[in-house]
């Protein structure tokens, strides 16, 4: 019996004032996998993730998450998923413990105090738990956002540029923790990024987007082999320039 995809996106379109932000995107993500959504600024990654989360309603097309149609049936599955994005923040005046308590209650987490201690220990936040979130460094805030996104031990984790604006050491630390979580929990992860090294390290599959469309979709190894390149960054540049050349030729 075939396993149902954790995320299924079919002919997804989002148009803002006649400008397509996402233009006929389709893909399915297998449960327990880590998939990267790669693309430059304005490629449509964030809009695609927001439609998967139910924060934005598609102009047309269909999104199914853990078997529920989004956004209509989102309350069937929201407690089984979570996200992290640079477009949202945690309330600054509340301490880390207060923020995690509020979100833990919203997600219906039982034995919440123990869960907060467990996350604080795993993410090296124990000493900071009673400090206001606004008084933390960028790296510490990212770890708090990660703690919030893991508070309900989600089966599905949507991450929008989780290591943006972090120094290399902190970014590496976050990636290591994410890898461990996904392995232990067998969670499905969709990771939007324009950091090629991050995607290459974490993801077993890469979807490359440009101007709202999927330009390529394969495993990092097969992409490297097919394009004859050593890094995903080179592959990405090949894909981006090929498209530009095709457009110029068409004109």
């Amino acid at each position: 019996m075939p396993v149902s995809p954790a995320i299924k996106v079919e002919r997804l379109v989002k148009i803002y004032k006649k400008v397509p932000a996402v233009d006929g995107v389709s893909f399915a993500i297998a449960p327990g996998s880590i998939t990267g959504l790669l693309g430059g600024n304005g490629a449509g990654k964030t809009t695609t993730i927001a439609m998967i989360m139910g924060l934005i309603m598609p102009t047309s097309g269909r999104v199914t998450v853990l078997g529920a149609d989004m956004p209509q049936q989102r309350y069937r599955v929201l407690h089984r998923m979570n996200f992290e994005s640079p477009y949202v923040e945690m309330p600054m005046r509340l301490t880390i413990r207060q923020n995690l308590t509020v979100f833990g209650m919203l997600y219906g987490v039982s034995d919440l105090a123990a869960r907060i201690e467990q996350l604080a220990d795993a993410l090296d936040l124990t000493e900071l738990l009673d400090r206001p979130t606004g008084k933390l460094s960028a790296g510490q805030k990212t770890r708090v956002s990660l703690a919030k996104s893991l508070i309900n031990a989600p089966e599905l984790l949507l991450l929008d540029e989780p290591t943006a604006s972090l120094d290399p050491d902190t970014a590496d630390w976050v990636r290591t923790h994410l890898e461990r979580y996904c392995r232990d929990r067998r969670a499905t992860v969709l990771l939007a990024s324009h950091n090629m090294a991050e995607v290459e390290r974490l993801c077993e599959r890469v979807i490359i987007m440009k101007q709202g469309r999927i330009e390529d979709d394969d495993s990092p190894a097969r992409l490297l082999s097919r394009y004859g390149r050593r890094t995903l960054e080179e592959v990405f540049l090949d894909v981006a320039r090929r498209r530009d050349e095709e457009q110029e030729a068409a004109q």
Binding site: I56, Y75, L94, S110
Partner: protein, 276 residues
């Protein structure tokens, strides 16, 4: 590993725990900021003192007001319930926009009705922090005991809070859809009610052609009821029931408007762009 207690639920499910989570969030915020607490009591106190002295002055110089002791200060205190009730609701909501936290909430299992319920409770908490000390000081300074109105005060309060919530809910929808550019509505919309709701004067003061517009607003019935009580010593239950009927309509329109504006915000992608 902890487990998730909430399982598959519908959009209309209501969880007291999620409402409590949001109330806790606002309580943490209030507790952490003395300027926020001071702000709750500062304006009501200044207004009460100013209008209390005006009332003293006119009582000494006009026979009508001598008979109608307390109408001005009573109107002021009831107006403050209406205004601060709406402001308390709207500010609690705006805190989420200012904190860029609305995306986190909209992605969580929190239902719109639970969010609204938490904001309603917080408007009561904020009002209590601001209004209770001021009403007690009104007794000390001017001998006006709002609590002396007894059951009538309960009826006045309930109707005014319903109106303030209805307006607060609708304004929150406007801000969700249009971003913080619509924030000014939260601060100023209630003043549209002020001249028409006849806070400080009877409806008969308005031109005849304008009076039907005044009777469309639930607070008009409350302020007329207050004057009937203080001047004629009559509790007009008919006015309170009419206000209640209109409030049910206002509340339904407010909630409907909020849900429609939330839907429009999802369509236009406003939930991801909560700035101006």
């Amino acid at each position: 590993m902890s487990t998730i207690s909430a399982r598959t639920e519908s959009a209309l499910a209501f969880s007291p725990r999620r409402v409590a989570a949001m109330i806790l969030r606002y309580w943490y915020l209030l507790r952490s900021s003395w300027p926020r607490l001071l702000d709750l009591i500062y304006w009501p106190l200044v207004q009460m003192i100013t209008w209390g002295f005006i009332q003293y002055y006119v009582m000494e110089n006009a026979g009508f007001f001598a008979r109608a002791g307390g109408t001005l200060i009573g109107a002021l205190l009831l107006w403050d319930i209406l205004f601060r009730g709406q402001l308390g609701f709207s500010i609690a909501f705006l805190e989420e926009m200012w904190a860029r936290n609305i995306g986190n909430l909209m992605m969580s299992p929190l239902r719109p009705f639970e969010f609204i319920a938490a904001l309603m409770v917080m408007s009561l908490v904020r009002l209590a922090i601001g209004a209770v000390p001021v009403t007690l000081l009104a007794i000390v300074f001017f001998g006006f005991n709002l609590y002396g109105l007894g059951f009538a005060l309960v009826a006045f309060f309930f109707n005014l809070m319903l109106t303030s919530w209805a307006v607060g809910i609708f304004v929150s929808g406007l801000v969700l859809r249009n971003g913080l550019g619509a924030e000014n509505f939260a601060w100023s919309i209630m003043f549209v009610f002020m001249p028409l709701a006849c806070v400080y004067y009877p409806v008969t003061t308005l031109p005849v052609w304008l009076q039907p517009a005044a009777w469309v607003l639930p607070p008009t019935y409350v302020f007329e009821g207050m004057r009937a009580l203080l001047i004629d010593h009559v509790f007009r239950s008919d006015l309170m029931l009419e206000a209640l009927a209109l409030n049910v309509l206002f509340f339904a329109v407010g909630v409907f408007g909020f849900l429609k504006l939330l839907q429009a915000a999802r369509r236009h992608g406003s939930l991801m762009q909560t700035g101006e």
